[in-house]
């Protein structure tokens, strides 16, 4: 049983080993991402060569160099349209997920509520979001509200489904254990059900992070004068293709940044792995 204790000598090699392992990890990560990086650079280069080689007109398909120039020339426009979209996506993300999580908690504790309202959630989900946008504009006006609602609606459903499943994922033995300890419902919720739902919740949040940007942009297509979505429409109608491409790159980057923000939060919060006893 004493063998569970590492000897002092073992402890030292462990620390040295960790330092080497960190260097190894960085080198390995670099090597692992090298093929992807090279492939992306290759694609961009190929794109530029095709645009040059076939003399493609800029309004039809601008080359990477034109797009980079557009970033410089339109920095002000891009920035002022980026901020509202960022705000709509983030507020929609928070709003949609908070509602979904609260509803999931209610469903788990009230089977009647689940039977009554789950079908409505499915019906709302099955309405194409692009068809919902004009309806919301008529209902709540043309301000920031319909954008937040649409970004939120897009986040809502995956989170609801995952969270219901996550809250129900605690093993029967864990619930028996809590009963034997005479734990209250609140203690069971905070100490068992909620932690065991977190991997499910984060799986949904990662989907929601990217789709909230999509929701905000789609909402801006319907009669909006600001935001990346409006800029996409405007740049298209005016044949300002480099600006259009630059806007698309920014929108994609925003989605990626939000995705990695959620992944980062997950790696800080869910630091455990499920154990199987067999």
């Amino acid at each position: 049983m004493a063998n569970a204790l590492p000897s002092p000598a073992e402890g030292r090699t462990l620390v040295d080993g960790q330092r080497f392992r960190m260097l190894d990890t960085i080198a390995a990560a670099g090597l692992r991402h090298l093929p992807a990086t090279l492939a992306i650079l290759g694609c961009i280069l190929l794109w530029q060569l095709v645009v040059w080689g076939f003399s493609v007109p800029t309004f039809m398909a601008p080359g990477p160099v034109d797009v980079v120039k557009a970033f410089g020339e339109n920095a002000g426009i891009l920035w002022s349209n980026f901020l509202p979209t960022l705000m709509e996506a983030v507020l929609g993300f928070i709003f949609g997920n908070v509602v979904a999580v609260l509803l999931a908690v209610w469903f788990v504790y009230s089977p009647l509520a689940e039977r009554a309202f789950y079908p409505i959630a499915v019906i709302i989900k099955s309405i194409p979001i692009i068809a919902l946008a004009p309806i919301l504009v008529l209902l709540v006006g043309n301000g920031i509200a319909p954008k937040i609602i649409i970004a939120g609606l897009i986040c809502f459903f995956p989170t609801l489904v995952n969270m219901v499943q996550g809250l129900k994922s605690a093993s029967p033995a864990m619930l028996d254990l809590m009963r034997i300890l005479s734990a209250s419902n609140a203690e069971i919720f905070w100490k068992v059900r909620l932690p065991s739902s977190l991997p499910f919740l984060f799986a949904a949040l990662k989907i929601a992070a990217t789709s909230s940007v999509m929701g905000a942009i789609v909402a801006e297509w319907i009669g909006s004068s600001y935001g990346l979505g409006a800029l996409i429409i405007e740049a298209t109608y005016n044949f300002r293709s480099p600006l259009l491409y630059a806007t698309v790159v920014i929108a994609a980057s925003l989605a990626v940044v939000l995705f990695f923000a959620v992944s980062f939060a997950e790696s800080k919060i869910v630091r455990w792995k499920p154990t199987t006893d067999h």
């Binding site: 204790l5 009963r179 005479s182 209250s184 455990w272 154990t275 006893d277 067999h278």
Partner: protein, 270 residues
């Protein structure tokens, strides 16, 4: 080190009878009346305080159900179960017993010491009750130095050791164990069997131990409670006349083999 574990805590009225658990004419039925299934039929047994009783029987004999009934996890259809003179519900609320499951059932997001502390953080705690020190218990089950380890970093045997430490932290007078070593390999199981015996002898805790292994039942048990199936009922409650402390080598003696052979014959009749 064992001072924190040594009993007695407050002695309740019923404890003077000498029975830790008293089961009388117990019937357990599951399901609605027309499609009900009888898990236990007219079971009566007295578990002496401080004893180590192993429960053996074919699958479907209701040995786990009996254990879960004592633990207030199963509704009693008929008859009575008393734990130190109290209903199972009162005994549960008074932290009179602890339960060890077949799976360690550790909360995977809590490290070893936080898992052992869990019983001290939830439920109604008895006013004035003194509980065991989690760190001493971790040392007692041989995991000193692994207090901060997460469950997924431990082996199956180590996880079960943590589960035992968690069960002991409330200083229960009764330890209910439902095939706790059933999922472990034989070498780990042997080692844990020996340590459980040591623990039992040092703490004087009453242990009710469900197993499907005849040698394990005989090696551990002061008494073996054999149940028959369909419906679950008591087949035999026999004393094992082997001296303690028991060693693994004892399992090769004629006396040990005679007892296991007898139980195997009985099991065949069930």
């Amino acid at each position: 080190m064992l001072e924190t574990l040594n009993r007695p805590r407050a002695v309740t009225a019923g404890a003077a009878s000498g029975s830790a658990v008293s089961v009388q004419n117990l019937h357990i039925r599951f399901g609605a009346d027309d499609s009900s299934f009888t898990a236990l039929s007219d079971v009566s047994v007295e578990i002496p305080a401080g004893s180590l009783v192993t429960m053996l029987g074919p699958s479907g004999c209701g040995k786990s159900t009996l254990l879960r009934t004592v633990a207030d996890l199963v509704h009693i259809s008929d008859g009575s179960v008393s734990v130190h003179g109290q209903t199972p519900r009162k005994a549960r609320e008074g932290r009179d017993f602890a339960f060890v499951f077949q799976e360690a059932t550790l909360l995977p997001w809590r490290n070893v010491i936080d898992n052992v502390r869990l019983p001290l953080l939830v439920g109604k705690r008895e006013a004035g009750a003194t509980y065991a020190d989690p760190e001493e218990l971790i040392a007692l089950v041989g995991l000193k130095g692994r207090e901060k380890a997460m469950p997924h970093e431990l082996s199956g045997g180590q996880r079960q050791r943590v589960a035992i430490a968690r069960a002991l932290v409330t200083r229960p007078r009764i330890l209910l164990m439902d095939e706790p070593f059933g999922a472990l390999d034989e070498i780990t199981r042997d080692k844990l069997n020996e340590e459980l015996l040591r623990l039992w002898q040092e703490t004087g805790t009453t242990i009710l131990f469900v197993t499907h292994s005849i040698p394990e039942a005989v090696f551990l048990g002061q008494h073996v409670l054999m149940l028959a199936a369909h419906p679950g009922r008591v087949k035999e409650f026999m004393k094992v006349d082997l001296p303690y402390p028991r060693t693994l080598a004892m399992r090769d003696t004629v006396e040990f083999i005679r007892v296991t052979a007898h139980l195997r014959t009985l099991l065949g009749e069930c």
